[in-house]
């Protein structure tokens, strides 16, 4: 595996260390683990997850479209900045410091849909989308996330896998729960047992319900 593993779109440009898409940020590392274990030779992984948020589709869209806010609820993400109207630069926690990449918006329909794709040459080529639909009877907005990504092999992949031993699907669900919390309540909900907020790994290793000293 190397440049141009090309599962997701055909890159013309090569920018090998940086091009990851933004969902990947969160999911990829975890996906690595599963994908590496399961099917080393077919490195494309697909994930879907959904949550209902008690806001209008437009409100949900506006929040998500402010990509710079994503690190508030995506636990492995450090920052997102806009390079121009359609391109964003991401930084995520990685085994040896941080990893960065650029991604572009490929679809952007107000109040309905946001889709993105990593720029060519990404270490983990990926694409994804968020679709928004009003839930029936005033139940808010159904938020559906769809992600596809390809997993690198070798040292990088193993490093990610060691760092994060969680199920990738669980990871997306955790992020979506926090997304819902931030959007509905303005904060990530924390307890003494789970001071970082909802996180699958923490649920297996709870702190006692005592204030953090």
């Amino acid at each position: 595996m190397g440049n141009g593993e090309g599962m997701t779109g055909a890159p013309d440009r090569i920018d090998s260390d940086r091009a990851l898409g933004w969902a990947v940020l969160v999911l990829v590392p975890l996906g690595l683990l599963v994908a590496l274990r399961r099917r080393r030779r077919r490195p494309t992984t697909e994930l879907t997850a959904a949550v209902t948020v008690n806001k209008t589709p437009q409100e949900v869209y506006d929040f998500w479209r402010g990509l710079e806010r994503l690190p508030r609820f995506m636990q492995h993400l450090e920052s997102v900045e806009w390079l121009d109207e359609r391109t964003t630069r991401w930084r995520a926690k990685a085994p040896m410091g941080t990893v960065g990449w650029d991604a572009e918006l490929v679809d952007d329909v107000r109040g309905e849909r946001i889709a993105w794709r990593s720029l060519p040459g990404a270490t983990v080529p990926n694409e994804g989308s968020v679709d928004l639909r009003p839930a029936p009877g005033g139940r808010g907005t159904e938020v559906r996330v769809h992600l596809t990504y390809s997993v690198p092999g070798g040292r990088v992949g193993r490093g990610f896998a060691r760092l994060l031993g969680e199920e990738p699907h669980q990871q997306v669900e955790d992020d979506l729960r926090r997304f819902k919390q931030v959007l509905e309540t303005g904060e990530v909900v924390r307890s003494d047992g789970s001071p970082e907020g909802h996180r699958a790994s923490r649920q297996l290793l709870q702190r006692p319900a005592q204030p953090v000293g």
């Binding site: 139940r139 509905e184 909900v189 307890s191 003494d192 047992g193 907020g197 709870q206 319900a209 204030p211």
Partner: protein
């Protein structure tokens, strides 16, 4: 600070722990003036609630004084006297919008754990296992209260004592919601299993809601006496002395009680030793988690087409659920952790107006330091114990 910590089955200890801190903008810190041991705390104490960790601070019935607020709490000020609902609710999710605060979709940061057990997660609860969030509880000197702009009720009448107000946090609204679920109509006979604090308030609430006849069932004379004297029950039955179902049928000329309330829950006791031993053994070997005598009897006793309401706490699975009786006779079965926020103002007014003084259930007031003694006493019904209030 000093706090009551769960240290394993049948063990709580009052220990030095770190003081709570504001973690989020909508938090407040409350200095506890009074806190109580709940019957559901005994389920923790007895080891029937999963996902407890050694060192967990317990307690979900507490009130006190606000000593610190986060920048997002505009409705409370330092020095305010507050009553704090036992469930934690964000006030902005769909469930909270619909007044179902104990089903808050956001307040349980361990929702994933609860979903594995129950399919979906209920709200976070103070001091009540990691399934309901892993929040430190209120049997302590101080508590962090999340979403303090939503839950706590500010007390604006200094003439009301802690003893009158404390039970607004849980057992009074829990009994009230249990009775409300019965949709009480004129002429109704309401039978209440369990004369603990929740059963007492369920009976008292049924009376306030206009039930014709209120029958309370237990095996401790002192509790049945309180049901008659304090809660306003019209009849009581000692299930160790009489056959409850026959008595209920006799009282209602064969119809059965129109409405039945199970205020017992998962550690039910049975008058018949072999039947009790059967469920007890299954529970001890963990092939069931919940003993269901009270619920079974409530369902089979209930009038056809009646309502069985379950404020008693259940945790997992029970055996021999009388599904045939329930289905064939159109029984409506209702449950739920209490949506305390929904009732707080209404019941505060009930207390303030003197329609009910909830302090009638208190039998013991101890120092927080004596919490271990309080748990033992309450568990064993020693010294006619019905409700223990702790003072930090």
């Amino acid at each position: 600070m000093r706090a009551t910590c769960w240290m394993g089955r049948n063990t709580v200890e009052v220990l030095d722990v770190p003081d709570p801190q504001i973690l989020n903008d909508r938090d407040a810190i409350v200095k506890v003036s009074s806190t109580a041991i709940c019957g559901s705390d005994l389920h923790l104490y007895d080891g029937y609630v999963p996902e407890m960790k050694r060192g967990d601070i317990v307690g979900h019935e507490f009130m006190g004084e606000v000593v610190e607020t986060g920048p997002g709490v505009g409705n409370l000020a330092v020095g305010d006297r507050v009553v704090v609902p036992f469930p934690i609710a964000c006030g902005s999710c769909w469930q909270c919008d619909h007044q179902m605060f104990s089903l808050c979709e956001n307040s349980n940061p361990n929702a994933g754990l609860a979903e594995k057990m129950w399919g979906h997660a209920p709200a976070g609860i103070f001091g009540y296992s990691h399934l309901t969030g892993g929040y430190a509880g209120g049997q302590a000197e101080y508590v962090r209260v999340p979403f303090a702009d939503v839950g706590p009720l500010k007390v604006d009448d200094d003439s009301l004592t802690d003893e009158q107000l404390l039970f607004l946090t849980d057992v009074f609204p829990t009994g009230w919601m249990g009775a409300e679920a019965c949709e009480i109509e004129p002429g109704d006979t309401v039978a209440v299993w369990g004369a603990g604090p929740v059963g007492q308030f369920a009976a008292a609430s049924a009376r306030l809601m206009g039930a014709e006849r209120i029958v309370v069932i237990d095996r401790f004379d002192y509790r049945l006496q309180t049901a008659l004297d304090g809660a306003g029950a019209t009849d009581v039955l000692d299930y160790e002395k009489v056959d409850v179902r026959s008595e209920l049928l006799e009282m209602t000329a064969g119809r059965g009680p129109d409405k039945c309330i199970d205020a017992v829950g998962l550690e039910a006791h049975h008058g018949s030793a072999p039947i009790y031993a059967y469920d007890r053994a299954k529970q001890a070997t963990r092939s069931v988690t919940d003993r269901g005598f009270a619920l079974r009897q409530a369902i089979t006793s209930c009038r056809s087409g009646g309502i069985v309401s379950v404020p008693g706490v259940y945790g997992g699975f029970m055996d021999k659920f009388p599904i045939g009786s329930w289905m064939n006779r159109s029984i409506t079965l209702k449950g739920g952790q209490t949506h305390v926020h929904r009732y707080l103002r209404t019941l505060y007014d009930v207390v303030q107006s003197g329609r009910l003084d909830p302090s009638f259930i208190i039998t013991h007031t101890l120092s927080l330091e004596d919490a271990p003694k309080g748990y033992e006493m309450f568990k064993n019904k020693a010294d006619d114990c019905l409700k223990v209030v702790l003072k930090p």
